[in-house]
């Protein structure tokens, strides 16, 4: 507790960490992660290549000819693409990498704290 009040940076950092841990363990975050993953699996996006000019543009790698409409002009269901986010995915898809990253972060955190305490 003394450490907490003596070194305000440590205090702020502990509060930040606590907040982060609460966030990534909260039902809201877990739900949002699951929702995003489910959406991603179901996501089917078809490019509306309908006209010759569109096709040419896509083939040439050019997009954005200055004509943007609020509605797609063919019957293609386009959902807003939400990314898969965060902690759970990192752990599940790159376990090895995740622990390397966590170790590296821990090393930086340790050096940071030691420096603060020495000051």
């Amino acid at each position: 507790m003394r450490l907490f009040f003596r070194h305000k940076w440590i205090g702020i950092f502990i509060l930040f960490l606590a907040g982060l841990v609460l966030l990534i363990n909260s039902p809201l975050y877990a739900h949002s992660n699951k929702k995003h993953s489910d959406t991603r699996k179901e996501e089917v996006i078809k490019a509306p290549v309908t006209t010759e000019s569109d096709k040419t543009f896509r083939e040439e790698g050019h997009v954005g000819h200055g004509e943007v409409k609020t509605e797609p002009d063919i019957e293609t269901e386009v959902k807003h693409i939400e990314p898969d986010v965060g902690f759970y995915r990192s752990v599940s898809t790159d376990k090895k990498g995740f622990w390397y990253a966590a170790f590296f972060t821990g090393v930086v955190a340790t050096i940071f704290f030691i420096t603060i305490i020495r000051i």
């Binding site: 940076w9 950092f13 930040f16 960490l17 982060l20 966030l23 990534i24 996501e43 996006i45 078809k46 490019a47 509306p48 569109d54 543009f57 896509r58 040439e60 790698g61 050019h62 997009v63 954005g64 000819h65 200055g66 004509e67 943007v68 409409k69 609020t70 509605e71 797609p72 002009d73 293609t76 386009v78 807003h80 693409i81 939400e82 990314p83 898969d84 986010v85 965060g86 902690f87 995915r89 990192s90 898809t93 790159d94 090895k96 990498g97 995740f98 390397y100 990253a101 966590a102 590296f104 972060t105 930086v108 955190a109 050096i111 940071f112 420096t115 603060i116 000051i119």
Partner: protein
């Protein structure tokens, strides 16, 4: 060993760093520029790693970013570091500018350095924009469509940034070249100029002090403190990268508008929803206003409590920006590009 160290210090001129600077340079508010510098170094380092795995062709760009984020060992982590460093730089740059404005550090003899700072801000926003396009998902393509709309409206001035210049290279390839070569070069040049001018004029004194008054510390002590702040910032970026992944969509569908820009462009998104030409007019007016500040406000008073008009303008501006960003976050697209 001591002799080697002594000779080394003598040869590389480390002794030149032992000069005096104001003691308040170690406060967090006067270190925001240094924190920005550290974050930019992190951005450069992570960007160099990402560039080894990114393929800037329209066919492969999005896939290569997915490869980095999903398959490559630690790719998601490096990409996260790059993304979160951008967020940190954006916040620290804005806070740095607010600090300089509140303490009136832009006043004589530092007017030109303020101008260099504004140029740095513009180049930095150019880097964010080009970086947004590189991931080549729906958000990226829509950003490019906005860019091409602006270029089209600018006519002859914008021709070298538009598709009309060449068909031999895709716009993505050209924006990638801008993102990794020209814009970083300009950024580094302007940063060096910024530091050079700080060295020439010295760090500004506290608003209630006269120039040169107040306690002093050695510059190396300031560097040590910056190192500490920098490590804190690095730790924050690492923790965020570890826990929250940056957004990334699938390949884009051209000709529609279903996404929103990153938060730092949401104010502009709100304005373009009101009237499309704001996309050009608003940044131009804001940039011009920022450039002119030191030349409009030329009084010698630097105490913020005695510069009520300046402070009112600042607070109203901040509230307008927050309001526009909030509005952009809760509203959806309400315009058609013509």
């Amino acid at each position: 060993m001591r002799k080697i160290l002594k000779d080394f210090r003598e040869r590389v001129g480390i002794g030149a760093l032992y000069y005096e600077v104001p003691a308040h340079s170690n406060s967090i508010f006067y270190s925001l520029g240094g924190i920005t510098l550290v974050s930019i170094i992190i951005l450069f380092a992570s960007g160099i790693i990402l560039s080894q795995f990114y393929n800037p062709t329209p066919e492969q760009a999005n896939r290569s970013v997915h490869y980095i984020a999903e398959t490559l060992l630690l790719g998601w982590f490096v990409r996260g570091i790059h993304f979160w460093a951008v967020q940190v730089v954006t916040v620290s740059v804005i806070l740095h500018m607010i600090r300089v404005f509140v303490t009136a550090s832009y006043k004589k003899p530092r007017e030109f350095n303020w101008t260099v700072g504004v140029l740095l801000l513009l180049v930095y926003f150019g880097l964010i924009f080009t970086g947004t396009v590189l991931k080549w998902d729906q958000e990226a393509v829509e950003a490019l469509e906005h860019h091409l709309w602006i270029v089209d409206k600018l006519g002859a001035i914008g021709i070298w940034l538009g598709e009309g210049l060449t068909k031999s290279v895709s716009m993505l390839g050209r924006l990638y070249a801008l993102h990794i070569s020209l814009l970083p070069l300009i950024l580094v040049f302007l940063m060096l100029l910024h530091f050079f001018l700080i060295k020439i004029h010295g760090l500004s004194s506290l608003p209630r002090q006269r120039e040169g008054e107040g306690a002093k510390i050695l510059f190396v002590e300031h560097l040590k403190r910056l190192g500490l702040y920098g490590m804190g910032v690095l730790l924050l970026i690492l923790l965020l990268s570890l826990t929250i992944e940056p957004p990334l969509g699938s390949e884009a569908v051209a000709g529609i508008e279903v996404t929103k820009p990153p938060w730092m462009f949401l104010w502009l998104y709100s304005l373009e929803n009101i009237w499309m030409p704001f996309l050009i007019i608003a940044p131009a007016i804001i940039s011009l206003f920022l450039f002119l500040i030191p030349f409009i406000n030329r009084g010698e008073e630097r105490n913020p409590f005695k510069r009520k008009i300046s402070m009112v303008i600042l607070i109203i501006s901040i509230l307008i920006f927050i309001g526009l960003i909030f509005n952009g976050a809760i509203t959806s697209t309400a315009h058609i590009m013509e």
